[in-house]
């Protein structure tokens, strides 16, 4: 195969590994990286869909099932106490991880999607009404669009959409213009899963609050990559997805200011969310339990606690620095491929590389890469309005995590040359 490697090599020598992370030993924490699809080394570049899980998280879940399994908050026996302690400790770890003022401001849900639905349904149902405006942006994930459309059907709220420029950044002048006296709620993605854009959330919150609106930040793609400080940002709600931050699937987090949670009605009814029940009247439990009906995903929450420990031990600053290196290396590799266009060129960007190629449809790119052991995602990434904005049906997306390597990005580059060979 004749293939020019010089751009890749020159890119590589230009990179300094300034993050100070020992990537080799970090990779050993991830058992799945030993999988060899079709006999080739696995190159996992689909971290925005879900990250892989370190041994520390897998072990914590196994330990729980093997030695601690019991229901929480209701047992008087030994195991139940152990499980409850671990469960409560995990909530506190999450609290400190995003710097929430209180652990009861951390509501554990079934996923990022449920966290947003909880807010739309409980807060929206109680405090938003006919003609009230909700401001979203053109780069929202479907899970931050559809719950508000459901609310629109029920309550007659009005959805406003802040536009995005050609680089994939929110046009802030328009955002500001759309914030009016009727704007009661602003719901914005912190980091775009489709483009990698890091939105100016502090500015967004400041402007929204000045207009009297409450703000939710969909932070599914922010929490795994950046230091997130909810008090500093001053957002009212913030949702995230543990399975994208090295934890298990099946759980989600909703941070909410206590004063809002106190005013909001319960979202689901059942056990754990009540203080007392008679057929005449039910007294709801304290925060956060008012929003956590039924037996929770105990193993998942304990796994989340282990994931938070894992990230904290490495350090989010180091992770962000390492991923910035990988992003710039990967960007240069993609720029060396004929006919490839990167979608999303925001100045502030997380380690997501979305692209299209003249020679091949994203689906075909994904197929060729898969044969090389390289996992990417091809599609609309649950952001169809954003795809429409860019006039494309889909993109191919390589989403990087700190455990990825320059060698893996070289493999991506070689496979993309192959795409051009096959389809060119």
């Amino acid at each position: 195969m004749t293939m020019s490697t010089s751009p890749l090599e020159s890119a590589k020598t230009a990179v300094e590994t300034s993050s100070g992370l020992d990537i080799e030993s970090i990779r050993e924490d991830f058992p799945i990286l030993a999988v060899r699809p079709y006999g080739k080394p696995l190159v996992y570049l689909d971290n925005a869909a879900t990250s892989q899980k370190p041994r520390q998280v897998i072990d914590a879940i196994r330990r729980y099932y093997e030695g601690e399994n019991a229901n929480v908050h209701r047992g008087i026996h030994y195991l139940s106490q152990v499980a409850t302690e671990k469960f409560d400790a995990a909530r506190e770890k999450v609290q400190h991880f995003v710097n929430a003022a209180h652990s009861h401001e951390i509501v554990l849900t079934s996923g990022n999607t449920e966290s947003i639905n909880l807010v739309a349904s409980s807060y929206g149902g109680a405090f938003l009404g006919e003609g009230d405006e909700i401001l979203l942006t053109h780069m929202e994930h479907h899970s931050n669009i559809v719950p508000w459309q459901l609310l629109r059907e029920k309550m007659g709220v009005v959805l406003k959409i802040a536009p995005v420029n050609d680089d994939g950044e929110i046009i802030m002048e328009d955002f500001e213009r759309l914030l009016g006296p009727k704007t009661k709620f602003v719901s914005v993605v912190y980091v775009s899963n489709a483009l990698g854009t890091i939105n100016p959330v502090k500015e967004i919150v400041r402007l929204a609050h000045a207009a009297g609106a409450v703000v939710l930040l969909d932070s599914a793609q922010a929490v795994p990559h950046l230091t997130v400080d909810v008090q500093d940002i001053d957002c009212d709600f913030l949702s995230f997805a543990p399975h994208k931050m090295f934890g298990p699937t099946g759980i989600g987090v909703l941070y909410a200011k206590a004063e809002l949670l106190e005013r909001m009605p319960p979202y689901k009814g059942g056990g754990d969310m009540i203080k007392s029940v008679t057929f005449e009247k039910t007294l709801y439990n304290d925060l956060p339990f008012k929003f956590e009906a039924g037996t929770p995903n105990i193993a998942g929450v304990i796994g989340l606690g282990a994931a938070v420990d894992y990230l904290t031990n490495i350090g989010m600053d180091k992770i962000a620095a390492r991923e910035a290196e990988l992003l710039s290396y990967g960007t240069r590799i993609l720029e060396s491929i004929d006919g490839l266009r990167i979608i999303g060129r925001a100045k502030e960007k997380a380690s997501v590389l979305s692209f299209i190629m003249e020679s091949a449809h994203p689906h075909d790119i994904g197929q060729i890469l898969d044969q090389e052991g390289i996992a990417i995602r091809a599609g609309h990434h649950c952001t169809q309005p954003l795809m429409q904005r860019f006039g494309i049906p889909a993109t191919a997306r390589a989403s990087l995590s700190f455990y990825n390597t320059e060698e893996e990005l070289d493999a991506l580059g070689a496979a993309l040359h192959k795409v051009n060979e096959v389809f060119g």
């Binding site: 994203p362 060729i368 044969q371 049906p393 389809f423």
Partner: protein
């Protein structure tokens, strides 16, 4: 032969690059739109039918190499066929691409469509290969609604 060559046979790549019977048809007797929500593939199929015989077929839209070449090859096979014959061809085609990779198939009946036998190794691509055909069937039935292979 490497796996991706088994899927992306020369004929497929050629039809992907230079699709036949491609473009909007003015005043078709029947037309339908097909959409694959997962990949965003979207095609329209247009038909002119006289005395129960397909006289002309065209398609337009965008999609991956498999869906586009399948649409293109489909249009080259339908001229002169009745609705029933077109439906039978699709049944044979679908039977082949959803069969076990080791199963044998009737090469004579399938003709050119054999180039899609590699799809059997990639079940996720069956939707791509059948999108235009589902759209054709909708057009033949005179259904106006968008069909979906989801």
């Amino acid at each position: 032969m490497s796996n991706e060559r088994a899927l992306y046979q020369k004929v497929i790549l050629d039809h992907n690059k230079s699709p036949r019977n491609f473009g909007v048809m003015e005043d078709p007797d029947f037309e339908a739109e097909g959409y694959n929500a997962l990949c965003g593939d979207q095609f329209r199929v247009y038909l002119r039918i006289k005395d129960g015989i397909i006289e002309e077929v065209q398609f337009e839209g965008s999609g991956c190499a498999i869906s586009k070449s399948s649409a293109s090859i489909m249009t080259t096979l339908l001229k002169g066929k009745t609705r029933e014959e077109a439906k039978l061809l699709f049944d044979n085609f679908k039977g082949m691409i959803t069969s076990n990779p080791d199963a044998s198939f009737d090469a004579k009946e399938l003709g050119k469509l054999i180039v899609f036998s590699g799809v059997r190794e990639f079940p996720i691509r069956v939707k791509c290969a059948t999108l235009a055909w589902h759209t054709l069937l909708a057009a033949l039935k005179g259904e106006a609604d968008t069909v979906s292979t989801e």
